[in-house]
């Protein structure tokens, strides 16, 4: 109580100084979350405007006689003639570790009812991406825990990897699994006291998603114990288009704090198609000229400046990284539409999810032929490279031969073997959601496949074989897995030990 009185007295004492010169204007026109304000002669682009009653606006249009401002907040309380004043500040959000485990909106205000965010540092929402000299090449892996991705389409820290597919193909699930996998790795490193492991913090940006979907994501992450390493920035479908337009930039600002302070972060933009739609709405209300599909002319710049902020910076410039996983939803598998082609050309690769594969039971429904990672094996553990190097080629051959197999024609032994092996590899890559697999277990399983231990197992039983084998490794050969994880490469001794273990398992498995 004594503190409280002192605080009040200090504030009263501080009020004695008179206010400096202010710049004001009055609202001339108001509608659709956009206000046209007369006056405000000193307003700058992207400056924050105080509309009164705690409502903030952002200057987007500077015209001769008036200023176009988008309202971030409840614009139903404003009316024509209200006074608005400049704040002299760019739009900023609070950043720092105090945001981890919280759900916030575009201004950094908490939405989870767990009290105010205590953060002294703010970062501007719009910032120029790191330049060429500040960057470093990507060579650290992001272990997503999804075998298909870690083996054939590896993602590195600092890379942008687009996840593209139709609705309900599992795009968000891949990102959630990645977040859960990172949380498990972070926890394991904390428990083991491993200081050489760099934890990867995750930011999930929900743009225009249903509130029920966001709630489900939060529930899944909480159950998996991933919330202490995650920030959720949400602008749901019921939020104004201005909020939905700005929320990915706010998330990127939070990620940049980690990047500038020697830590690694992963940001998921779910999804950028809705972001483009929100920006289209804002631009049309601001009467900016529209182009193809009614998108404004700078929709490419919108996504390129957002995604370029994800990078790996050099030691002198922060020594951190920000990995981006943007999600794009296509309509009827059309990747040649306007926004998907834009984002494909910006990112360092894409993971393409197909509805056909999904309904055939291949989940995650990753199309290995069309998916690519331009960073590739530079971001893979050496052990994984050793076992998985051939996989992509083998699967490509299998896909070509699979057409022959359907006709049931007589095939020579070699072709039949390839087809059989391909079918088994496809089975191995099926995975249940929310169950990421650690990389050392992945290496062991793929090694077993490549050395023919699965060839004698009938195809419908391959998954049972795989899960029993993984249990066997996890319960009875923990040291082997730990050795693989520690050494990062498969030496001959390790291969011999793997052979013994696999032989022992195959003998007892029925």
């Amino acid at each position: 109580m004594g503190n409280l009185l002192m605080e009040i007295e200090a504030q009263i004492a501080g009020a004695r100084t008179a206010a400096a010169r202010q710049n004001v204007g009055s609202i001339r026109e108001l509608g659709d979350g956009v206000a046209k304000i007369e006056g405000l002669a000193d307003a700058m682009l992207n400056e924050m405007i105080d509309m009164g009653d705690g409502v903030t606006g952002l200057v987007l249009n500077l015209e001769e006689t008036e200023v176009g401002v988008i309202i971030l907040g409840d614009y139903t309380q404003l009316k024509e003639g209200d006074e608005a004043r400049t704040t002299g500040k760019l739009l900023q959000v609070p950043v720092g570790k105090s945001l981890l485990g919280r759900v916030v909106n575009v201004l950094g205000q908490p939405l989870d009812g767990k009290g105010p965010i205590k953060s002294d540092i703010t970062y501007p929402v719009e910032k120029i991406a790191p330049g060429i000299m500040r960057r470093r090449s990507v060579d650290q892996p992001v272990q997503t825990g999804i075998m298909a991705i870690d083996a054939m389409i590896p993602i590195g820290r600092g890379q942008r990897e687009l996840i593209i597919g139709d609705r309900a193909t599992g795009k968000t699930t891949i990102c959630i699994d990645t977040i859960i996998s990172q949380a498990e790795l972070n926890q394991a490193a904390e428990v083991a006291g491993d200081s050489s492991y760099r934890p990867l913090y995750c930011i999930y940006v929900a743009i225009g998603q249903k509130q029920s979907s966001v709630a489900r994501v939060i529930a899944v992450l909480e159950e998996a114990g991933a919330m202490p390493y995650t920030i959720i920035v949400s602008s749901a479908a019921s939020d104004s288009a201005a909020n939905q337009y700005l929320v990915p930039f706010a998330g990127a600002a939070m990620g940049e704090w980690f990047m500038d302070n020697g830590m690694d972060a992963l940001i998921v933009y779910d999804d950028l198609s809705k972001h483009a739609v929100a920006y289209r709405q804002v631009s049309l209300v601001l009467k900016r000229p529209s182009g193809r599909e009614a998108y404004p002319g700078d929709v490419f710049y919108l996504h390129s400046r957002l995604l370029e902020r994800a990078a790996r910076v050099g030691e002198k410039y922060g020594n951190g990284s920000l990995t981006a996983l943007p999600i794009i939803e296509t309509q009827a598998g059309d990747v040649s539409a306007y926004v998907p082609t834009n984002v494909i050309s910006i990112t360092d690769g894409q993971i393409y999810l197909e509805t056909d594969l999904f309904y055939q039971g291949v989940r995650p429904a990753i199309s290995v032929g069309l998916s690519v990672s331009r960073v590739g094996s530079a971001a893979q553990l050496k052990a994984m490279k050793q076992v998985a190097g051939q996989l992509k080629g083998e699967l490509a051959q299998f896909r070509e031969l699979a057409a022959f197999a359907q006709f049931g024609s007589d095939l020579d032994a070699k072709t039949q073997a390839q087809i059989d092996r391909g079918k088994r590899i496809m089975e191995i890559f099926k995975q249940t959601q929310c169950h990421p697999i650690p990389v050392e277990v992945q290496v062991a399983v793929i090694w077993a496949v490549q050395n023919g231990y699965v060839d004698r197992v009938p195809v419908p039983r391959v998954r049972a074989f795989q899960s029993t084998f993984m249990d066997f490794l996890a319960t009875r050969h923990v040291e082997l897995l730990a050795t693989i994880k520690r050494e990062h490469t498969l030496s001959d001794a390790l291969k011999a030990e793997l052979k013994t273990v696999a032989d022992a398992f195959t003998q007892t498995w029925t």
Partner: protein, 168 residues
């Protein structure tokens, strides 16, 4: 007596004797050839068979002993393997139990921490509200009173201050 007389007394006739000896000889030869030899051969075969049987029996006993020894060895090995399996299972169970205990402890700690944080949050919220109310009262009181107590000198001073700000 004369030899021929002895022979004649016993009824032995040289020609008959010779003929009989020859007949006997032929019979012997025939018997030997057709009866004695096959019988001997058969006996020999049977003897060999018995010998073989005996030898086999020895071998069988030996092998039986060897198999018995092997069986014992396999049993011992199987026992040892079973023991190892049981140990590994026990170790795995201990690990799982340890993990579950840690999880339970962490969950319990989490509950305590959340409760404490919730209490702290409520406290902070009440203090903030109190501060706001006090501030509001102060401002209202000042607004009500100031106009009445300020002299014209004070008004002049305030106007000069603003004039200075404009000029600066």
């Amino acid at each position: 007596m004369r030899p021929e007389g002895i022979l004649a007394t016993f009824g032995v006739d040289w020609s008959h004797l010779l003929a009989q000896v020859i007949s006997f000889g032929i019979v012997c030869v025939i018997l030997y050839w057709f009866a004695y030899r096959p019988v001997l051969v058969m006996l020999e075969a049977r003897r060999q068979q018995i010998a073989l049987g005996l030898a086999n029996a020895e071998q069988i006993t030996a092998e039986l002993a060897r198999t018995e020894a092997q069986r014992q060895e396999v049993m011992v090995q199987a026992n040892a393997q079973a023991n190892t399996l049981i140990d590994q299972a026990r170790a795995a169970a201990a690990r799982v139990r340890e993990q579950q205990t840690q999880k339970a402890i962490a969950a319990a700690e989490q509950i305590t921490i959340s409760a404490r944080e919730a209490a702290a949050r409520d406290h902070d919220r009440m203090l903030a509200e109190l501060k706001r109310e006090v501030g509001r009262l102060v401002v209202e009181a000042t607004a009500a009173v100031t106009g009445k107590i300020l002299t014209s000198e004070d008004q002049r001073r305030l106007a000069e201050e603003t004039a200075r700000r404009v000029a600066a």
